[in-house]
């Protein structure tokens, strides 16, 4: 708890299994990429410090498992998120179709105070594959969906080549930061000894 105020932002990454969530995170945090697929079990957690407009803050990235069997973890994981990143594979139509489900599931489970304006970012990953020849979701289509959901920022990324990854996370951080801006007012009570309405925990056993 240093004197200089730092902000911690909780970022959840969601999307179908195999779309490259872990790879994106690894590329962003560790600048590494592996072609080998290793399914995430439950969730992975990574931390990255980011400088943004002279402010230092920490991204706490929750890389979740895409498999359906892990979706029961939702409430536990989504609570208190500052930003949600939806990832799909531009070469797999199903993963794009599912974005809607992921978004809605998130809003239900995390129940943010202002769901309309909760910051999402959409990433269309794996644009490098086959030089783009195997892609089935057009950028236009993706952007249209994002626009219909309240102008969600959209990035086309390649975790393998590091394309747009830094930019995407900069945007994620910026949006997360914006949503965290409203300050909570913390106002504790003062004891009024005069009134008898004083709350006493039973453990104190004050009866005399």
């Amino acid at each position: 708890m240093p004197a200089r105020r730092r902000t911690l932002l909780k970022v959840i990454i969601l999307g179908d299994s195999g779309v490259g969530k872990t790879s994106l995170m690894n590329q962003y945090v560790n600048k590494k990429f592996s072609n080998q697929y290793k399914a995430t079990i439950g969730a992975d957690f990574l931390t990255k410090e980011v400088q943004f407009e002279d402010r230092l803050f920490t991204l706490q990235i929750w890389d979740t498992a895409g498999q359906e069997r892990f979706q029961s973890l939702g409430v536990a994981f989504y609570r208190g998120a500052d930003c949600c990143v939806l990832v799909y594979d531009v070469n797999v139509m199903k993963s794009f179709d599912n974005l809607n489900n992921w978004r809605e599931e998130f809003l239900i489970q995390a129940s943010p105070s202002d769901p309309e304006n909760f910051p999402f970012v959409v990433l269309g990953n794996k644009v490098d594959i086959d030089g783009g020849n195997s892609r089935v979701v057009s950028e236009k289509k993706a952007r249209a969906w994002c626009a219909s959901k309240g102008n969600i920022p959209y990035f086309e990324t390649s975790a393998k080549e590091g394309l747009n990854v830094e930019e995407a996370f900069q945007c994620i951080a910026k949006n997360a930061l914006k949503s965290g801006e409203e300050e909570e007012i913390y106002l504790p009570d003062t004891i009024d000894v005069g009134s008898s309405s004083q709350q006493r925990p039973s453990s104190s056993g004050c009866e005399c």
């Binding site: 708890m1 004197a3 105020r5 730092r6 902000t7 911690l8 909780k10 439950g42 969730a43 957690f45 990574l46 931390t47 410090e49 920490t58 706490q60 990235i61 929750w62 029961s72 973890l73 409430v75 536990a76 994981f77 609570r79 208190g80 998120a81 500052d82 995390a110 105070s113 949503s179 965290g180 409203e182 909570e184 913390y186 106002l187 504790p188 009570d189 003062t190 004891i191 009024d192 000894v193 004083q198 709350q199 006493r200 925990p201 453990s203 104190s204 056993g205 004050c206 009866e207 005399c208």
Partner: protein, 620 residues
Amino acid sequence: MDSADDAGPNSVFPSSVQPDQQNPSVSERIDDRLKRVSLVDTDALPGDAPPPAPHAIDVDSHAGVNGVLDARSGSEGNDKREEDGGEAPGDVLLPQLVGAEHAFEVTRSSSDAGLRDNFEIEVEEPSSPSSSGYAGERGSSNATTSTGIEEVGEDEIVEADAADSSVWTPGKRHVDEDDGSISWRKRKKHFFVLSHSGKPIYSRYGDEHRLAGFSATLQAIISFVQNGGDRVNFVRAGNHQVVFLVKGPIYLVCISCTEEPYEALKGQLELLYGQMLLILTRSVNRCFERNPKFDMTPLLGGTDAVFSSLIHSFSWNPATFLHAYTCLPLAYPTRQAAGAILQDVADSGVLFAILMCRHKVISLVGAQKSSLHPDDMLLLANFVLSSESFRTSESFSPICLPRYNPMAFLYAYVHYLDVDTYLVLLTTSSDSFYHLKDCRIRIETVLLKSNVLSEVQKSVLDGGLHVDDLPVDSSTSGSLSPHLGQDRSIPGSPDRSLSGIGGPGGLWHFIYRSIYLDQYVSSDFSSPINSPKQQKRLYRAYQKLYASMHSRETGPYKTQFRRDENSVLLCWITQDFELYAAFDPLADKALAIKICNRVCQWVRDIENEIFLLGASPFSW
């Protein structure tokens, strides 16, 4: 001491500190108090049934005793064995409440060499019906041995530097570490506080933000179990224990390989939470209700030292597990003089007036029917002592006493009267700084005039009780404690020759906790418990003993006698007091029991010097 004479002990503190709340009835408590209690070694009266003994208990089956061991086998499983030249068979530890309705006894192990080891435990249950007299043999078949208490050892990179409270300085260290650092992973005892969304709030070691991923993992574990409608209390992983405490939106976690009992670690997490409430109140919960993203670290800015100092006290301050406070030894009239002036200001709208010297109470009073919980006193003293700014000027700060009212703030006026002695005046009104300042000036004047402050300094220099000052014979124990205003160099008792070092009968150290006063007194450490390492080992042994005596699953017990290669520990609990005593590992049991009786007598003889009496309306 002008004000001491006109105020009787009862009239001075009409209604301040609460006696122990577990004792159901006041009259019962006082009745018990009137009984003479003594711990008797029945070797002296072989074959004799104890005097009136409607509830005499014996624990004679292996199962009974092993049950106790097994319950804590996780932590004690490895006590080192040592061949012990068998003792006489069947000697009996028989504490009894003379002339009262309770008598009980416990036997220790028989001479069955096969089962003998140096690790003896005797426990008796207060309520199981049984006849009196000789209880059959039992053996500790505890086969495993533990590095348990030895943990204080060489490889400890953390707490070695923190063990000596005289050189320990509060504040966060090793901020450059995170969960990837080898040094961080090797630390013996971690404490974490995080929010229900997994955002770090406090970590004992390392930078909170760099531990964000680790923090998220902890939240995932807790929330996952919670989602299943369940609760995770602790996880044991190798020799590490991970203890969880969920307090609404705030999660507290301790990861420790110190082999401390679960109950002890959980109690420490409770205190850590209490310390947080003392600074913020439970109103922070509302912030989380409105906004799960809420980050409370800014609200705790600058309080690292408060938490690190509290955590440090978990390894040296018995108040953290005894839930009792301790007083600075003072002549009765001196303490009365201090109490009288505090009472004076308490009558003028001060909720609590507390005069303390470091962690020890000089005097305290409460207005109206208010009472102060020992845990609140511990947290308050820790807050004051660990915040440097209180030392430099008079201060007025909002604080919350979690056991008094966790939701709301009180206001504390804090002023140091000398380098160790400080006054805390608590009020409910945020604009009474100047009134409290006036009160302080009045108090300070009286304390100076009546020499209380110089007596306090003298007491600090003299130290507390010393085991070698234990009166030789109970017939001479009517006198005051030797060092209080008198010559302390009395010749050692004849018993001393039996052990060579320490007090009579090989007594090394003791803690006496008065149940109805909520206070304890502990002897000063002396040879051979010299090094911080030994002191911490003894502290941990007491802590373990306390947990096993009070265990919900296997206890509560009234007596316990344990021998291992480090020491003999004897614990004796009655309705009035708890006595924890440490002896030389070769100490004779019958003699140890005799010494314990003497310690109790001694404490009773000097109780008006070592305890704050009259703070409770039910005491005398």
